[in-house]
Symmetry: C2
Subunit: 415 residues, 2 copies
């Protein structure tokens, strides 16, 4: 890790000029907050990536337009408003109107333009948003923000659905003699198999950077972080990742791919790897985070495919839930990844916090102790290490085990 970059306690409201808040708007949940707002004192440049699902939630359509306009023009954004409980997907033109009304309510309360407000939703597909409740929530959130609330954690709590804890992280680094902060929050749990980004993630920074480089850094980063997470193979209709930069750190604006740009990219990689691992480890019903590290693949694309194939295998996930070193399922998942290789040449190991055990080599089982393997698989973080022995490319993917609770949660999610 670059010595200029430090992990700090914090989240989406840590960077200079940003504030956040959460309230109980009464959208769906009985005893918890379900609506959040993130606000920057000054206008922000924004980069974003969205679901590749053909079926896109109304708010994805809304945000995508704003992000595109901002990239190709001079418009900026000021705030993000998020609700949990209802996804506002498959809701037709009424759904889009409801999204616009939510943005307008937030804009009015904050005294900004409606096209300066990004909107995100998560929850059940097919239901219409209760607009009056959202308007009321937006107004209360704006008041909290005006009172100087900087409650990143509250915001992170308010966007949860089946998440078991609020996910936030932040880093600090020095650029041009100034301290820059980059923080974020995300939520995941089910329907997590992002093709562009995770379900919902919001990042803020006070870095000054050109809009083109902001967009490029995010696009490149997502391939290594959120796009390498899979909980259940279902790519959501709502996947949204937004990165807001307000420039308040006061550094000379980054306009070219220099050392400072690289420092920012590295900080972004650290932050998003941390958030992505939180998402994976808190997948619905999960008891363990699984990390699949593929090394020495012939191409980067193949390394990613192989890692994602193993992380997506239901049988591998169930075996790890059972602490069963059933490595044949890993070989099987590598085999159907769509990548050509010689099974006789690769090696597979299990890695725990204390030791690494070679499981498979030269086409057959290695001489390992089932007891040691089972002990590694009982840890809360399990690493599957695959050595392809073909080239120099690596990739890492994250997921979780498949448990009774995943089935339970999803068999009656709506009730």
């Amino acid at each position: 890790m670059n010595e200029k970059i430090r992990e700090i306690k914090g989240g989406v409201a840590s960077a200079g000029g940003f504030a956040a808040a959460g309230v109980q708007a009464g959208i769906k949940y009985k005893n918890r907050k379900d609506m959040a707002m993130v606000y920057s004192k000054t206008p922000c440049r924004v980069a974003g990536t969205f679901t590749t699902n053909v079926v896109k939630a109304a708010c994805v359509l809304w945000d995508r337009e704003i992000v595109e306009e901002s990239l190709h023009g001079e418009s900026k954004v000021h705030a993000v408003v998020v609700n949990a409980g209802i996804a506002n997907a498959c809701t037709g033109s009424q759904g889009y109107d409801n999204c616009a009304k939510t943005a307008r309510a937030a804009a009015d309360a904050l005294g900004i333009g409606e096209k300066e407000v990004l909107v995100a939703s998560t929850g059940v597909i097919g239901m219409q948003l209760p607009v009056e409740k959202l308007k009321n929530g937006a107004s209360r959130l704006a008041s909290l923000l005006k009172e100087g609330e900087a409650a990143g954690t509250q915001a992170a709590q308010s966007i949860m659905t089946t998440d078991t804890y609020a996910k936030e992280a932040a880093v600090e680094f020095e650029i041009g003699g100034k301290t820059v902060t980059l923080g974020g929050m995300c939520k995941g749990s089910g329907m997590i198999h992002p093709n562009m980004c995770t379900m919902l993630a919001f990042l803020t920074t006070d870095l000054a950077i050109s809009k083109e480089l902001l967009a490029e850094a995010l696009r490149e980063n997502v391939e290594e972080t959120f796009n390498m997470v899979s909980v259940d193979g279902d790519t959501s209709t709502n996947d949204t990742l937004l990165l807001l930069a307000n420039g308040m750190a006061g550094n000379p604006e980054i306009r070219e791919k220099n050392e400072e740009y690289d420092c920012f990219r590295e900080a972004l990689l650290i932050l998003n790897t941390k958030l992505a691992k939180m998402l994976a480890g808190d997948g619905e019903g999960a008891t363990a985070l699984i990390e699949v590290q593929v090394d020495h693949a012939d191409t980067k694309e193949n390394a990613r495919r192989l890692a994602k194939s193993v992380i997506g295998s239901s049988l591998t996930k169930a075996a790890i839930f059972g602490h069963d070193a059933n490595w044949g399922r890993i070989l099987c998942a590598l085999g159907y990844a769509g990548v050509a290789f010689d099974p006789e040449k690769i090696a597979v190991s299990f890695g725990g916090s204390k030791e690494t055990v070679l499981i498979f080599e030269d086409g057959v089982a290695a001489d390992y102790s089932e007891e040691t393997a089972a002990s590694i698989l009982s840890e809360p973080e399990v690493r599957i290490l695959v050595d392809m022995k073909m080239g120099g490319e690596s990739a890492c993917a994250w997921g979780c085990d498949l448990t009774y609770d995943y089935v339970k949660i999803n068999a009656d999610y709506r009730s």
Copy 2:
């Protein structure tokens, strides 16, 4: 259905000249048969399709060579020997030797050549076969067959792993004034997401047909039947489908694509659709068979992709286990199938044994009764009907719900 084709009671030993048997060889299971043999009095033409997994079981390599040689030369086959309990995959050169030894033992016992014996295995990956037990089993099976045993059902029972019942079916049809029989058995349950064919399926017929047309009919058929089944998205290392034809019905050999060839294709479609649905409905832990019918797609390929995407969605499968009409997950799965369409234009319905209910149309939920929908989803066979309103192509896919028992079975499969 062609009026010339009749479903009959029967299986892999129903066609003229075929016999089958099953024994307890003691490979893995304590109180059940785990080894089967299928034998034809006269040599057979053979067609086969195999897993596309890069990691292939030793027996897949063995069979593929025999099937290829038979297609391009004059060689024929006489028998198939199958074991359950150990897959003989990821077992290196010793695994291949063990496969060859099994074939040789069967060949010696039956008085035929070893390259006339096809071999199939299913079970745990990575363990070596107990060759002495298999040799002993082969010899006992051959004795049973010589005694005139025609126990198709016993054979079907002997190839089961986590299957809950033996799967067999047969049809009869008339060709050239002769009655032709086509029957088969299969096994599935876990690791079922065939790219070429299902885990293990064995078909026999007394039809006389050229080897080229036999291969073509099977290859085409598999795309519509076994390749449209998914239990868990894991494509096995052992998928094998074999079709043996001994010509004993005495019909004039089918050598061109005439009416008689079409009749055979239709009989094959009926048989394999039936077997494929049995596989899907008996997926590990399943409580329901799910059928996804996609109509009016723009291309056949897209119809298949859409149907397979829905049948593979863990969230949809879990919702059906919970009898929850959470149709948003179906829309979501259609959306990430990789097919372009306008979500505002399609329609989705649920179909039960008594009624069909429209759930989604014009981009929003239809006005349906949740009670009626839940009642349909409580039936043992649930149909999801998708009308793409784009063209004239259809496809059907089969799968099952995702249940606690799936997790349970796969969390401790090896123990």
